[in-house]
Structures are given as C-alpha cells and as structure tokens.
Amino acid sequence: MAAYLAHYLVMVGIYTILALSLNLLIGYSGIFSLAHAAIYGIGAYASALVALKLGLGFWGGLVVAGAVGAFASALVAIPSLRVAGDYYIVASFGLQTVILTVFINWTSLTNGHAGLPGIPRPTVLGYVIDNPFKYVVLAAALAGFTYAVCHRLTHSAFGRTLRAIREDEIAAQATGKNVVLVKIVITSISSALGALAGSLYAHYITYINPTSFTLEESIFIASLVILGGTERLAGPMVGAFILLAVPEALKFLAIPDAVAAPMRQIIYGGLLILFMFVRPEGILGRARPGAKQ
C-alpha cells in the first residue's frame, strides 16, 4: 500500500513538473501548446539514449534532455511565433505529430513500438535510487527545482513582461518589448523543463515507448494546468494531484478497461467545459486577479 502511494506521489511529482512548465506558456504567456507530451517524450528518449548508448549518468541525461527539448521547440517556435497567436496551436500540433512519428518510425534509434527497456536507475552521490520512496524524494527535489525556476521567472520584470504580452501584446510592443524574442525564450525554457520530467520518467519506469507521448497526453497535461489554475504556481500541482486520482478512482469502481480509458477522457473533457463556465481561472486561481508584486 505504501509503495503504491509512493508511486502515486512520484507520478504527481512528474506531472507537476510538466504542468508547471506548460503553465509558463498557457497561463503566463497566453500561448497554447499541444506539443508538451512530445517534449516530455523528447526528454525521455534523449536521456534514455545517452544513458543506454553513451553510458551517461542520470544527471548528464537531464542536461541533455533539457537542451534537446529546448532546441526542438525553438525550431518550431521561431517561425510560428512571429505571426499571430493561433498559428502556434497548429504548429504545436504539427510538432507533436512529427515527433511522435519519429519515435514510432525511426526504429534504428528508438526501437519504435518495442520501446527502450533497461534504462539505468539514477545515482545521487553514490547512492542508487532503487525503491519508490527514494524516487519520491528525487521527484520532489526536481519538482521543487522546477517550482523555484518558475517562481523566479514569474516574479520578476520578465514575468511582468509575460503578463503584459498575454493581456495585450500590441501595447507591450509599443512599450518597447521584443515580444517575439520573449515568446521564444519562454517556450524554450518551458520545453527544457518539460523534457526534465521526461528524463525522470524514463529513469523511473526504466522502460519507455511511444504510447506515453501522444496527443491525448498533451491534452491531459493541458487539462492539469487549466483545471488546477493558471494564476498561481501551486495550481498545476493541485491539478496533478486531483486529475491523477481520476484513473485510480475509476479502477476502484471496477469499470472495465475498454470503457475506463474513454470514460476518463469524457470526465476530463467535461471538466474542461465546466470549468470554462464556472471557474475559468481554475481551482486555485483568483476570481479577480489582484495586484501582484
């Protein structure tokens, strides 16, 4: 039972990192990305591959994951953020599709559907992280790190610029902000952090395959952000706690697997609609965002 709870907490930790990093885009910058699962996957595969093929440790893998994630999204962000916002939704969908195709089809690198097994466990100062409780600590540490980075970014002049861009980017331009550059920077940072989550996931489950990094997954991560609340940083974490409990609750109700998966999605979809009506700012958001310092 304790091990099960520990597993749940590790996943909450991973999804907190994903949600916090996506919140930088959706919540703070007003950029809606459908590619976060692909970035998650890039982090997982990059980290797994450098571990399996180059013998690089977990920490090295983290750095590589972050760099590759940032680079991949910058490739798409640079052309599409120059133009009006809605292009990015479509471009991110494109990125998601292309990257998943690469995971599935570049079999010489990724093993395709068979996936990559045997990913080594992380070591911290000589200790191997080999039981769920140790992973909880690692996940909490990485989530804490992500939170700290997001906090620094959002509570700064840079964060102010992001919020100004989200609310009225023309006024931001007139006030001297290089809107395109700021968007590219935040997209890269968001992706670097999202890729970190992938790295952690890969070295936790020690096996990855493409099915974890689909469009449905991107939408799920976006739901965490939206439902948890985009205004406060704790929001995505709350979202992770709650939404990850949904599949568990469904298992509890002994709903057959074939129905459980779409049932989950129906609940998520319904919640999204409901929240847009009742509480668009999410669970933790303020109903009227007050003056923030």
Partner: protein
Amino acid sequence: MDLLLQLLATGLVVGSLYALCALGWGLIYGTTLHFHVAHGAVFSLAAYFAYVGQKLLHLPLAVAVVAAILAAAAAGLLIDLLLYQQLERRGAFRTSLFIASLGLLILTENLLAIVFTPDPMRMDIGVLDTSLIIGPVFVTYLHVLTVVLAIGGYLALVVFLKRSRWGQAIRAVSSSPEMARTVGIDLKRVHLLTYAIGSALAAPAGILVAMDVGAEPFRGTRFVLLASVAVIMGGIGSIPGAMLGGLFLGLLENVGIWQLPSEWQSAISFGVFLLFIVLRPRGFFGRKVQSAEL
C-alpha cells in the same frame, strides 16, 4: 509511374475531403475568429448520424445521408448557441473558448467510442462501391462522388457568399465585425448561420469517409487539425485558399509517400506546413500578415 498516378488520384480524393473540412472550418474561423476544434466532433457525429440512419433506423442511404448532414448542421449551430455564445456572454477570453471547444471534442469522440466502440462501423453503400478503372488508376464511384461533392460544395459556397444577402452579411462580418454591426447586421445570427453552413460542409466529408472505410470516433480530431493547416496554407479568410489548401494537403500526403516511406506521411505534411509559415505565412491567398493587427 502507374503508382504515381494512383497516388495522385488518391490524393485528389483525400484532398477533396480535407477541402470540405477546410472550407467549413475556414468559413467559421474567418467570420467568428473562434478556433473551433469541436468542428472535428461535428465531423465524427455526422458519420455516426448517417450510420445510425441507415443501419438502425433502416432509412434509405440517400435519406440517411441528407438527414445526417442536416443534423450535423444543427449540431454545429447548437455548439455556437449553447457553448461559445454563452461563454462570450460571460466575458470569456478566446483561449477559454478554445479550451471549451477542445473539451467538447474530447468528450464527444470518447462518448462515441463508448457507445459504438472504437471499431469502424461500416455502412452499405451499394452501387457506390463499384470500382472504376481509368487507365492504371483504380477508384470507386464513391471516390468520384467525393471529388464531385467537394467541387460542388465549393461552388455552392462561393455563389452563396457572393449573391445571397446572408452570404454578403457573412462576408461583411468576416472583413470587419465593427463595421457590420454599425450597418445593422445581427452578429449573433450571422455566427449561427456560419456555424450551420460550416458544419454542413464538414458533414459530407465525415460521412463519405465513413461510407468508404467505416465510421470511427477519433478521426475528427485528425481532420479538424489538418483542416486548420489547410486553411493557413491557403490563407486565412480566403475561400479559394481553403479549397486549394485542402487539395494541396491531400496531394502532398499521398504523393509524398511515392518516394518516402508511408509512415512519414504526416511528418511530410507538417514539415511543409512549417516551411510555409517561414516562407509565406499568409499562405496562398491570405491577406498580408502583420505581426500587429490594429
């Protein structure tokens, strides 16, 4: 060479389907500026309406199809009336509308998956299944009908927008909602009409695919996102652009696999899309895109 011709033919058929979806989605987006991903839900629903009409209600195929198109048009209209207009009344941001639309898409498709299972639900299409062999190319009457309907739909839309009063109202709102309001056009009504027409264009696409390979719950998501790609490539706000974009995308996807492995199909399309954004963001026929819209 034979293979290439076959691929071109398939590309034309697939392109016609994309074109119908793109015409509908582009009309809606150009007029309301809603990123209506739930268009995919209407696409999927239309297929199942036709299936239910024929297989469960035992209606003749033509009746089932027409009824399904009307039902889909109504569904699209209701989505605007009950979802988007209600949210707008509450002062929602455009992103909130998009999120609600996404939620509706997911909810609808998964509901269909539970009710009908994810397996393809096939229909009886009778004579339309007959194959037609033109030189080295092999198509069915259904495929020919698809292309004909796409062209017909396009022409009908163009004539409607140019000649009819409501069509002109839609164009006015599309080009400037403020001006349209000043001359007394009822924006809400125009939006409803746009949704009805846009949905009525997507519906045949969903139904035709279902008639060919069976109705599936999740196809709509793919189609609506490809429709948005087609509209962007064709140029936002341009009807001929949407048509051309859809056809182009269909041809690209299929001709692309002439030389490249077929698994890379979607990667090719998006790669070209990204190239478009870099080199010609306004697409084939769009207005010149500026980074600031004043």
